[in-house]
Amino acid sequence: MNERKRKLTSTFLKAGSVIGGLVLWHVLATVVVKDPTLLVSPVVVAVTAYQMLFVTKDLYPHVFASSWIFFYGFVLAILAGVPFGFLMALNTSVRDYVNPWMATLYTTPRIAFAPVLLLWLGIGAGSKIAIVFLGCFFPILINSYYGMRVVNRDYVELARSFRLSRSALFLKILLPASFPFILAGIRLSVGRGLTGVAIAEWFGATEGLGYLIFFAGQTLNIPILFVGVAVFAALGIIGFEIIRIIEIYAIPWRKEPQGS
């Protein structure tokens, strides 16, 4: 009974906070600010979102354009990051030689590479995919590396005592044991990839969500700006949840997600 009451209060407080905040926002926009180039009421944002989704259908081309960029960059990052992380984990000399470059590239704010990539690859899809790739690559690489490094010694000993061949050791022990870490890396890279999409589309794009936000900002179109930000947030949450569901099914033995 007490538990139920607590839950009820919790929901009530949360709902109250959301509604109160929205009302405050509405009052702020319509009474205090009164300037549609600075702030608009949440009602206007909702109406704009509805129209862009169902009436004019303006939103979809942008979502598709961004999704393709994201998809290619993301998949390429997985295809490159996982094997490379394994290689670094299994071969110390590779690791020692590559490490300083990777650490530098990883800690540099990604935006710094955007103009350089633009210079090299032009303003087409190539440079955008490369920017997304750079964002996703490092979390995946580092997690694959780490996952391979921390495989329980007992598993390896067991494999040895069963005289597993090297390839069997890799396929049956090392790969499954590091799988949770790889997925954690992939999950982290969803958000970074989306940020990458936004950055990429600011430079010389003509469509896409990043372009939509940038353009709305330049033309002081606040409703569209808000819609764009909301779609980005929604995509981030959806991507994150998809990976989490994959995690639950792919690694049922896992208790707690790492690195979130």
Partner: protein, 260 residues
């Protein structure tokens, strides 16, 4: 044995950097003689020297650092206070939670256009960007730290008849410190990205401005100087915080894979 291994790692790492730079220098001098695409390291170095001695670099570096430090310190103070309140009072936590979660799930850089519209193109908008990014990370982590305090410590405080203020000052805050520092570390990388993005979009000084300026005037050596400077900033701040984290919470595994 292990010291020998570390030395080997350092030797290989430095060797890798030297060889990499040599290949870069030679290939840009001999094969690809085009300063526009990839300037050789030597000309990057010369440009760096010229920019540094003319004081231009200083101006931009100082601008970025001031924006970063102002936003970061404000975020630390307010973030720790809010996080502490959220950790202490359930009702406050429930009221804040939906908004913090929303702010957290929005990719930071998509709100940069909005922040520039609201707070102008001067230093203030960048401080706000840094503040927003860092504060959210610190709030969440501080709240988590306060909530996960060992109850035994609190009982100890009680049996020692510590006042409420003393309990907070001597038990709760030190206990939550490792979490707070994790929040700071997560904030640093993203805040650096945020401030550069904000400067890139609208500013008259700062490294982001320099990045945009040099890429729009096709001044590749200058562009590379900026990129390398940003890489250095990222590397230094990342390692500083990591050191701090190891110092403050040596019992926690360094969590470099869970970055950003």
């Amino acid at each position: 044995m292990s010291r020998l291994l570390v030395r080997k790692e350092i030797v290989r790492g430095s060797l890798s950097i030297i060889i990499g730079l040599a290949i870069w220098e030679l290939s840009t001098r001999l094969l690809l003689d085009n300063e526009l695409l990839i300037p050789p390291p030597s000309s990057v170095l010369i440009t760096f020297w010229n920019l540094a001695s003319s004081g231009e670099l200083n101006k931009h570096l100082v601008a970025t650092l001031i924006e970063f430090i102002c936003g970061f310190t404000t975020a630390c103070v307010i973030g720790i206070i809010l996080g502490y309140l959220m950790g202490m009072y359930k009702w406050f936590d429930e009221i804040m939670d939906p908004w913090i979660a929303t702010l957290y799930s929005i990719p930071i850089i998509t709100v940069v256009p909005l922040i520039i519209i609201w707070f102008g193109i001067g230093i203030f908008s960048k401080v706000v960007v840094v503040f927003k990014i860092t504060a959210v990370a610190i709030i969440l982590n501080t709240a988590a730290g306060i909530k996960s305090l060992d109850p035994v410590w609190l009982e100890l405080a009680k049996s020692l008849r510590l006042s409420d203020w003393q309990t907070t000052y001597k038990i709760r805050l030190p206990g939550a410190l490792p979490f707070i520092i994790t929040g700071m570390r997560l904030g640093v990388g993203r805040a650096l990205l945020g401030v550069i993005v904000a400067e890139l979009m609208a500013a008259n000084a700062g490294l982001g401005f320099l990045l945009r300026d040099s890429s729009e005037t096709w001044d590749s050596p200058k562009l590379f100087v900026t990129v390398i400077l940003l890489a250095a900033m990222g590397l230094v701040s990342f390692n500083l915080i990591k050191k701090l984290e190891q110092r403050m919470a040596p019992w926690r595994q360094s969590a470099e894979w869970s970055s950003e």
